[in-house]
């Protein structure tokens, strides 16, 4: 059966440290946009930690979760692209083909999760950061849409290696940059079609939930709810 890549993020383990955000920037040649542009809302964080404050001081709690491209099974961003730059791969990913993108930005409007980012200008890396670019990932020019690809370069590299060695891919053999970097091991990546993989097992947990499920996008990212949303205060009570 064809592979269907998916991810599980355990919100109980996530500390909101944002190491995944930095790792993603490093792995995927995402440039920083500068202070002025970031203030205008043009920063490109393929994975971001969303944070909502609840309650008033002194009973404030922060609820946070990492949000990245959900690689939706029925992605609303795909049919609206006039040049097929956004399409569905056979392995369940939402592919973004930079060369086909002419920058209509319709896909970004259609995405309910706001996980698509646009290159408003040509990306700039101050020296010597330009020497740190990942050769496996293309650099996107001005006018092109980009988003999380589940580190498709790593997926492809692992698949090619496994095929060359004439063996099947092992679960957990490789991981996207964010999953690899996550210190509390809150993120798990793997093949959802393999019932033995860890990601499939966790996706069947009774804490499993999906983001904006009611929009009918069939996301491949599953979130495991915290048992209690009260943070560290009541952690002692609940453990």
């Amino acid at each position: 059966m064809a592979r269907q890549w998916g991810m599980v993020i355990d919100l109980d383990r996530c500390t909101g440290c944002e190491a995944c955000v930095v790792a993603c920037h490093a792995e995927n040649n995402i440039s920083t946009v500068g202070e002025k542009e970031a203030a205008r809302g043009r920063a490109k964080h393929w994975i971001r930690v969303e944070r909502y404050y609840e309650g008033d001081f002194p009973n404030v709690t922060a609820k946070f979760m990492p949000v990245l491209c959900q690689q939706c099974g029925e992605a609303p961003c795909e049919p609206v692209c006039p040049t097929f730059a956004s399409y569905h791969t056979s392995e369940g990913l939402n592919g973004q083909v930079y060369n086909r993108c002419i920058g209509t930005r319709y896909c970004a409007n259609a995405c309910p999760y706001n996980v698509r980012f646009f290159n408003w200008f040509n990306p700039v890396w101050d020296e010597p950061l330009n020497l740190q670019l990942n050769p496996d990932v293309s650099v996107r020019g001005v006018g092109v849409m980009e988003k999380c690809t589940f580190c498709v370069q790593r997926i492809k590299a692992a698949e090619i290696q496994a095929e060359a060695e004439k063996r099947p891919l092992k679960d957990g053999e490789f991981a996207p940059a964010c999953v690899q970097t996550c210190a509390p091991k809150a993120m798990v990546f793997g093949d959802l079609n393999d019932p033995q993989s860890e990601v499939s097992r966790l996706a069947r947990s009774n804490r499993a939930t999906k983001l904006l499920e009611e929009t009918g996008t069939l996301p491949h990212v599953t979130y495991l709810k915290r048992d209690s949303w009260n943070g560290t205060q009541n952690a002692a009570e609940n453990s």
């Binding site: 969303e50 609206v80 006039p82 993108c101 259609a110 309910p112 200008f121």
Partner: protein
């Protein structure tokens, strides 16, 4: 109707083609400068990047798409007046048809340029065209933007032919009266050798009839498809089935307003007081009133169902427009689209040419705001609140310059057209002046003789 001889009609309607005043030339130069500024803004965007515009994440569409929808909407003037009134045999449309059709063609051309202007990589806009590319890929027709491509091109070709076909006899007229050799040559080519035999007239009128039937469904489909650019995306307050009829009604609304403004300016600057009569403005004013009420109906329906449904994402956008940051624009829009036009158009005494023009200017402003308010509040407040705009969307100099430049371009193109081609269809006007006229004309004649009496008494009063 004040029966004018054909010579008088020729004289009046062809005078603008001959004389050119200094004011005309100055205004033309000024408009050209503004358009050039718009071109410079567009060039800067290509050179530096689309980031020069004020758009941001998540408001990925703003001024340019507002303008796109606005100008395409404005282009529905010609279709309504020309095609529908032609099919209904409404004779009062005769002086008005070409003014309207010209608005359609130019507004459509301007509107159709915006999908190119707003692209991140506009030099690749030709990828929307279905051709067997060397990349082995065709465009994606599941995308509403491709539907836009087909619909707008069909409508543009249809409108251009709808405009050009009845111009052939008028080109023949100008050709026969042309003084300079170059003009005569050009108009001869354009007139296609028209001589005016019964067969030619019959075929032309049949063709116009078929075109009128064909272009109405096309116009309806064009703005429905433009509305589906929004309605097909799962965005709060976009994903609504009412969008197609709502947009078509809004388009006709703004189109009639633009037509009234254009006609008023033509009447004043080309001295067409005896051709573009108060009755024309009154009739168009009544249509504008109906469209204003229809607009209110659609907006009220949409907002009532949204409010009653009380879905959190939709309500966030709803309150933003009604009470939040966008409320000044929202209430200005209601003021311009309904509060001002309604009394001016409903009360007969106020439904003068001036009243209609004031109402129309309000409608043009209000409809532009309506397009803006459909796009930007919804995009700023999608489902995940963390991504609601960090800083509110503000247009930058490129967006403002290009917007102003499009209005200047419209005026410029219109002025150039009126200079070289009679803006009132001469043969249609003459054909409407027959002794064997319908009772509609008799009614118009009655109104016309009252006008004549009024003008006479005014003249006599002024002479004292």
């Amino acid at each position: 109707m004040l029966q004018k001889t054909p010579e008088q009609i020729n004289e009046d309607l062809l005078r603008p083609l001959g004389t050119t005043s200094i004011t005309y030339r100055l205004v033309l130069i000024l408009l050209f400068i503004v358009v050039a500024a718009g071109g410079y803004a567009f060039g800067s965007q290509i050179y530096n990047g689309i980031g020069l515009a004020g758009i941001q994440r998540p408001v990925f569409w703003a001024f340019y798409i507002t303008n796109f929808v606005f100008w395409i909407g404005l282009s529905h003037a010609g279709t309504l007046i020309s095609a529908i009134l032609r099919l209904c045999n409404a004779t009062w449309r005769r002086p008005v048809t070409r003014c309207a059709e010209v608005i359609t063609v130019f507004a459509l051309s301007i509107g159709a340029s915006f999908p190119v202007i707003h692209l991140g990589r506009p030099w690749l806009a030709f990828w929307l065209f279905p051709y067997p590319s060397e990349r082995g890929i065709w465009p994606n027709i599941r995308s509403p933007l491709l539907w836009d491509f087909f619909a707008i091109n069909t409508y543009l070709i249809g409108s251009v032919t709808f405009l050009l076909l009845p111009m052939i006899p008028d080109f023949a007229l100008v050709r026969d009266r042309a003084v300079s050799n170059i003009r005569k040559k050009i108009y001869s080519v354009l007139a296609l050798g028209w001589s005016g035999t019964p067969k030619q007239w019959h075929r032309l009128e049949t063709a116009m009839h078929i075109m009128a039937i064909a272009v109405i469904p096309v116009a309806v489909s064009v703005h429905s498809i433009v509305s589906w650019d929004f309605a097909m995306a799962p965005v709060p307050m976009w994903h609504s089935t009412i969008f197609a009829p709502y947009f078509v009604a809004g388009a006709i609304f703004s189109g009639i307003a633009a037509l009234i403004i254009a006609m008023a300016m033509l009447r004043k600057f080309l001295h067409l007081e005896e051709y573009l009569l108060p009755i024309h403005f009154e009739n168009l004013g009544k249509l504008l009133l109906v469209m204003s009420l229809l607009w209110v109906y659609f907006v009220a329906s949409e907002r009532l169902t949204t409010w009653y449904g009380n879905e959190p994402a939709d309500m966030a956008v709803f309150w933003m427009t009604q009470r939040g940051g966008f409320s000044p624009l929202f209430w200005t829009m209601v003021f311009c689209n309904f509060i001002v036009p309604f009394p001016l158009l409903a009360i007969k005494k106020l439904r003068t040419i001036t009243g209609c023009v004031i109402a129309s200017i309000g409608v043009v402003i209000g409809m532009w705001l309506e397009r803006f308010l459909i796009i930007v509040p919804s995009l700023s407040h999608k489902y995940l609140a963390f991504s609601w705009t960090a800083s509110a969307y503000r247009p930058t100099w490129t967006e403002i310059t290009i917007t102003v430049a499009t209005f200047a371009a419209m005026a410029l193109l219109y002025m150039l057209f009126a200079k070289f081609i009679p803006i009132i269809s001469v043969w249609e006007l003459k054909a409407g002046q027959h002794p064997a006229a319908t009772e509609e004309l008799a009614r118009l004649a009655d109104g016309q003789s009252r006008l004549a009496d009024r003008l006479r008494t005014q003249r006599e009063a002024g002479a004292d």
